[in-house]
Amino acid sequence: MGDLISIKGGRDGLRLRLDDTAEWAHLMSALEQQLAQNSGFFAGARLILEIGDRAINDEQMTTLLGSIQQHGVQIEALGATARESRNAARASGVTARPLPRYSEPAQPAVQNEHEGMLVSRTIRSGQVLRHHGHITLIGDVNPGAEIIAGGSVVVWGRLMGLVHAGALGNPNVVVCALELRPTQLRICEQITRSPDKAKNLGPEIARIEENQIVVEPWEGAKRG
């Protein structure tokens, strides 16, 4: 992702962080581009929006929220240092809270992607696990559940739902599971589904090779 926009994981969920010094129009077009390019990651997401020191008025806030919502993203809360921005958010019906000044410079998403997340539970039908970095899950992913990661996905259990790795555009990621039989498997922009007559071969690993998703047994992958 560009330097103007980044995603960070926090204790309360994912944060979409916008640069607070760039020109407004420039920022808006960068945002639009990011959301459109990575629709697989953003559609259906609930995010916290951080705009730093930037002061924006009611009209700008409406435009900003509108263009974000258009991509199926719900903004749960807004973090801003400027009171004017927080008032504008409240006027649009979004919870707003003060934000400490950006302490570190925005990092490009490529770096963020290495942030991992470890989850230990069953992901059930209708539940979505979404993270901008890698996801390691100890437990099953039941049919109807979704795992969406910017990085790789490792499931110590049965992966039976939908999985999307590299959802922020990185094709060099893997999906592996003790039992890999997802309803649908997506890596970056490639989509595949499990064969109709699935044999249980033990742990398997999926990755992209020559623009195709290739799945092989973990044993084979080790030798290769």
């Binding site: 059930r124 039908s125 039941n142 109807g144």
Partner: protein
């Protein structure tokens, strides 16, 4: 102090109402004071299944909106004086009641009964949310079908998110012959996916249809396998350790009955 247990499923038509009626009856037969509540406002059924439809004067919405006292709306069962029904309103819809009103209602019943069973509507919307709002425990009914199990899984997630603790499970309408032939999901398959505590396996049984249409609980029927299964579930809910009936070794219910007749004739 009553235990408040909501019976729900996600998918419709898997046997929530039948389960509520039979567990309520079975628990009352054990001597417990039981209230069953029909939370399916607008599509009420529990009164019909229990054969109490013609006794309804006031309903749940009348109580919530203050037109009747709770005591006036509770209908005594035909046979068991310790069993009461609070019927749903038929001419209103799910929006007639709020979650807080349901919590108040269950709290009013808490001091007077040992068990309060709530029959939830299908779905995951307001009606379902109201039905679990006041619950201490949730009991999920599913049938061994992929679609029903999928919905049950969704419900488990929602119940856990509502911090009701892990729900328990009844697998309804098992057909042992189909399971043996590998043509139906087995109880083990269902448990493996849902990973929650099993409290009942109820075989598919034609006596359910006849007893339901007559407005009588199937647990009264000594010959019914489903009736026995519901009695066992009630004992497990009450804390007894009851082994599960061995269904897989038996023939179908029909064959068993034919077998009985055959022997008599011989």
């Amino acid at each position: 102090m009553a235990r408040i247990i909501t019976i729900t499923s996600g998918k419709g038509g898997v046997g929530k109402t039948t389960t509520t009626a039979n567990l309520g009856t079975a628990l009352a037969m054990q001597g417990a004071k039981v209230a069953v509540i029909d939370a399916d406002i607008g599509l009420r059924n529990l009164d019909v299944v229990m054969g109490l439809e013609n006794r309804i004067v006031y309903d749940l919405v009348d109580v919530v909106e203050g037109r009747a006292r709770l005591r006036q709306a509770l209908i005594k069962d035909k046979r068991l004086p310790e069993l009461c029904l609070l019927p749903a309103a038929q001419t209103r819809d799910k929006d007639a009641v709020s979650s807080n009103q349901m919590i108040d209602l269950t709290n009013q019943l808490r001091s007077e009964f040992d068990y309060v069973l709530i029959d939830s509507p299908a779905g995951i919307e307001g009606g379902f949310r109201n039905a679990i709002a006041g619950a201490d425990e949730v009991l999920i009914v599913t049938t061994p079908e992929v679609s029903a199990v999928r919905d049950a899984d969704r419900i488990v997630g929602l119940v856990e998110a509502a911090e009701k603790g892990p729900p328990s499970l009844i697998v309804n309408r098992i057909k042992p012959r189909l399971v043996n032939r590998g043509e139906m999901l087995s109880v083990e398959d269902v448990i493996e996916l849902l990973a929650i505590n099993l409290v009942g396996i109820v075989p598919d049984d034609e006596s359910i249809v006849t007893s339901t249409n007559r407005g009588e609980a199937v647990v009264y029927d000594q010959t019914s396998l489903a009736g026995k299964a519901f009695l066992n579930v009630a004992r497990r809910i009450a804390g007894e350790d009851v082994p599960f009936m061995a269904l897989s070794d038996q023939q179908g219910v029909l064959e068993r009955l034919l077998g009985l007749f055959g022997r008599r004739r011989a």
